[in-house]
Subunit: 220 residues, 2 copies
DNA sequence: TTTTATTTTTAGACAAATCTAAATCACTAA
DNA sequence: TTAGTGATTTAGATTTGTCTAAAAATAAAA
């Protein structure tokens, strides 16, 4: 069985994200930027990860994550996201505070701990950022995209796409501060005209008409 | 401000325990046995801890923990015990499973995390083993000793002494499986004759008369 | 195609924490 | 009081993860 050190685990997680779940190749400099370590250190680490067969590494040409690597990365991501849920739901941390702490917590080695934590949290399927939590076997549940006006009051989600991508519409979104990737929460819904109020990135409130809300797709 | 590495923190915690909270001096071999590392490694670590003024170290003569060292050790102990409470109360771990995991968890650096955890757990004053949890300033609450029949139903505690220490009484205790240091829980109380049923070390059930129960002192 | 710029790797160093083997110190027992 | 035993320290090696500086490979531009 492959075992990774803390540092190796962190690198692999970063690589998984950078490669968009294994779709793209990744360069040394990419990893260096993500991990905030020097390229020289990255080269060394890539050699080690290559020897452990969690990545396929060709000198000077970057790397691809392997199937085994994906599995391990997803385990780490699972731990990280479960701890994020714990920190936000139970300890009342806010989104922006959790990452570093969850990172530390997810290094704790016990398998049993993660199983019990998962159970304690009620087997959550998504973390506070809306990202899916892989199950024990690394499977992730992808979630449906909904237009904002189909959301319930209080729902949170992330803007993933727009139906109407006309320049005018995009300019409007830009103006009000909404963008692909923005985290939103439905603060108010007015039944009679279908307009909604959403909170963007936990700070900015936006009112939008039924038409606009129907054209913004959210991942819940 | 003094900062310690993980390993230094662990050594200091062990030293604190070995020195019985700073009362006794401690030898290199003591630490070696406790930490399961070689004496040579301990010497090196003691030198470092001495340089950081958390212990007073004289080569070949062992060490004494300093006031500063005590404070830091108590911080680590606080974290450890809070995590133990979390593991047992929330994640349903049993006593004997928690130590290693709590050790890992208590290495997580965030101050805020510990404060929030403390709050979430309802500011517990004692860990699942009955050991006191130091507060933020390192103060520990020592607890009163009570005879078993003064305990409420469901109370947990640790046997710390006996009033009647006659050979006959001690032989009786031995026979039923109670001993100084045993962890007990009050399972049942019969009002009319004052007899009680207690669970020892989470496994063995004992019935005892009012007289016997009145002679066993428990730290709650 | 040759030169230049960028990216990546190698080489060598360092800090932390451990080990083994050898040396040194302190106490004890003749 | 001196030799021996056991505890302790030193010396030197190893692993892991990082760094800087320099070399090498690739990519881009003239």
């Amino acid at each position: 069985m492959i075992t990774l050190t803390f540092a190796e685990e962190n690198y692999l997680k970063a690589i998984y994200h950078l490669s968009d779940g294994g779709k793209k190749g990744v360069s040394t400099n990419d990893v260096s930027a993500e991990m905030k370590t020097k390229p020289a250190s990255v080269s060394d680490m890539l050699r080690k990860l290559g020897e452990k067969d969690v990545i396929e590494y060709r000198k000077y040409y970057g790397l691809h994550i392997t199937e085994e690597g994906k599995k391990l990365a997803l385990q780490t991501i699972r731990k990280h996201r479960l701890w994020e849920v714990f920190l936000v739901e139970k300890l009342k941390f806010s989104w922006d505070e959790v990452d570093e702490v969850a990172d530390d917590l997810s290094h704790v080695k016990s398998q049993v701990l993660i199983q019990r934590l998962d159970e304690y949290l009620g087997f959550p399927k998504f973390d506070p950022h809306g990202d899916p939590i892989p199950d024990e076997y690394g499977d992730v549940r992808t979630r449906p995209r909904l237009p904002i006006n189909d959301l319930d009051l209080g729902s949170i989600g992330q803007i993933v796409a727009v139906k109407d991508s006309s320049p005018a519409f995009l300019r409007y979104l830009d103006k009000v501060g909404a963008y692909i990737g923005a985290r939103i929460k439905v603060m108010d819904k007015t039944e009679f005209d279908g307009s909604v109020e959403i909170l963007v990135d936990n700070k900015k409130s936006i009112f939008m008409s039924k038409d606009v809300a129907g054209n913004i797709l959210v991942m819940v």
